[in-house]
Amino acid sequence: MKKIALAIHGGAGTLLKGMMTAEKEVSYKKTLEAAITAGYNILEHNGNSVDAVVEALKLLEDSPLFNAGKGSVFTNAGTHEMDAAIMNGGNLEAGAVSLISGIKNPVLLAKDIMEKSEHVFLAGTGAMDYAELLGYKLEPEDYFYDEFRFQQWQEIKNSGNFQLDHSVKKDSKFG
């Protein structure tokens, strides 16, 4: 019998000195621990790797700390557009979704596309139509609102620039 293992990531970008408080660091680590534990529990109970990665990602998507699901950053239009993908290494099946809004857990929609549709990648309004067909509930805009994300957007919204999850300009007023 093989041995089980799991890894997760949450984000990439510059964390300037002083931005990460001890309190914030505890919150990030707690969420990471909850996610890795949830995924590992599935593997420990003889579950499969697809279910394990989905369970771990659901917890990260439900947190405002990470740029996915609830914590998604603002687009130039002040909206949220989310993307997700999943792949099963055993049969090389895959599912992916892009430019969706209002879906609490995009990874679940990607998994449904992999397992229930004849397609691999659905995007935009078509993907939203498919989610509706499967009975996905849409969260209201305020579910995705986060003051820190909003300020990140305000700072660059007229600049024509865009930035990674945790990037903060050196002269940032909220850094």
Binding site: A7, H9, H166
Partner: protein, 134 residues
Amino acid sequence: TVGAVACDFEGNLAAATSTGGMTNKKFGRIGDSSMIGAGTYANNKTCAVSCTGSGEFFIRAVVAYDVSCLMEFKGLSLKEATEEVVQNRLLSIGGDGGLIAIDAEGNIAMPFNTEGMYRASIDTQGNKNIAIYK
């Protein structure tokens, strides 16, 4: 961007990635996360990979599949393949970010070439590691 890779008791691998994109993006910009082979890939013969970083570079370098190809066709280990892709190939085109990867033996690699990486893993010995790389 968040992601996960796993190896179960049967040696089956899986990868998943989810993202809210980049702040202030427009024109329906899509990064690598949802692109199979660029930001997400899994193959029991080689590895499962989930990427995070500036997506445009990961798309151009077809990062996730490149790791798998280096293992399958060049015989590199998971560690060698991920280091080659992140520290050499990706960096050579100016790409910043990193990835997490796992092989069918449960080996884990988590290389990155930029700051601000949030990572957690549990290896085959049950050792848990939670870290923020500033």
